[in-house]
Amino acid sequence: MSRDTALVSAEWAEKNLSQPGLVFVEVDEDTAAYGTGHIPGAVRLDWKTELQDQVRRDFVDQEQFSALLSSKGIGNGDTVILYGGNNNWFAAYAYWYFKLYGHGDVKLLDGGRKKWELDGRPLVTEVPERAATSYEAKPQDLSIRAFRDEVLAAIGTANLVDVRSPDEYAGRLLAPAHLPQEQSQRAGHVPTAISVPWSKAANEDGTFKSDDELRALYADLDERDTIAYCRIGERSSHTWFVLKEILGRENVKNYDGSWTEYGSLVGVPIALGDTPGGN
């Protein structure tokens, strides 16, 4: 993968809005955003009610994902262009999710909703009607998904990248600063994890930085396998996207349980402060 295959620009997208076989999909942190205006023709995915199992803490399964995409009118052969707010956090999460379930052609709109809006490109409120399909998801590709035991095993043996803000990494905050901080789990980071906040990979307008800038940003990663994590797995999807899909790095996993799981486990090691800490 590379920038050319994984990303499309806002300019390209606007010229190709009605191209057959392309489906624009908005995935937001603010699930009301779509209703206030979206890219013409775009359908909406609700990351919380549609991509998450509503009982267990996990994703919807292969069958549920198949049913979901069928109901959205997305076919296995469609090129899916994902975009969203908050610098594409949830769009990147959905991108990883589409890859997890083996979708063939999926791309991110560089800059997401923010750049589209700041550029003054068209937004509409009408919801498109797409005929249902018979989507068939593949089994989860676990080569891109890390579970908690793999994270523990990675301490001191693989690259761990904590992509949260520096204050969350150090244990001074438990959540991003646009959310209340009252939570029960412990603060800190996985020992030996390096801190590379996801935001360093993005420009102010939400577009990704250049390949050279991105390579320099992750220069501390060595040739070992890599696991990225954040708090709930969406910001680390953004970093996973940079490492795997833009820079083409091998063996990169996203730990979707992330700090809300790790920081609540009994007996696991935690490091506090601004440095990685030993194992």
Binding site: D30, E117, P166, D167, H178, L179, P180, Q181, E182, E234
Partner: protein
């Protein structure tokens, strides 16, 4: 009457910026930075407001409400608010304590 958005602690979802602060938020412990984005004397809805820490590092970003309002839950100290909008961009530097701090960010 506006309905308060319930902030789900297990999500990173951006809460409605215009909603009242949820009753579960303890203002004796929280450091809330809130205010409006103005272009001249007009409020700017839909502006992207970025919270940068004392070193200039990005910490969080929200979109202003229909009334141009933004809100962050931060920590005591120095912060920069940077607003991006189709009406222009602008910065405001603040030093805050616990409780609610109000700040206006002007864009041009």
């Amino acid at each position: 009457m506006a309905t308060a958005t319930v902030v789900n602690a297990a999500s990173c979802a951006a809460p409605d910026q215009a909603a009242p602060i949820p009753a579960s938020v303890d203002l004796a412990k929280e450091t809330v930075i809130t205010g409006v984005v103005l272009a001249g004397d007009q409020v700017v809805p839909g502006a992207y407001v970025r919270l940068l820490d004392a070193t200039g590092e990005f910490t969080a970003e929200v979109v202003t409400s229909a009334e141009g309002v933004f809100r962050f839950f931060a920590a005591p100290g120095d912060w920069t608010l940077r607003a991006l909008s189709r009406a222009g961009n602008g910065d405001a530097v603040v030093n805050v304590e616990r409780g609610i701090s109000e700040v206006t960010v002007k864009v041009a």
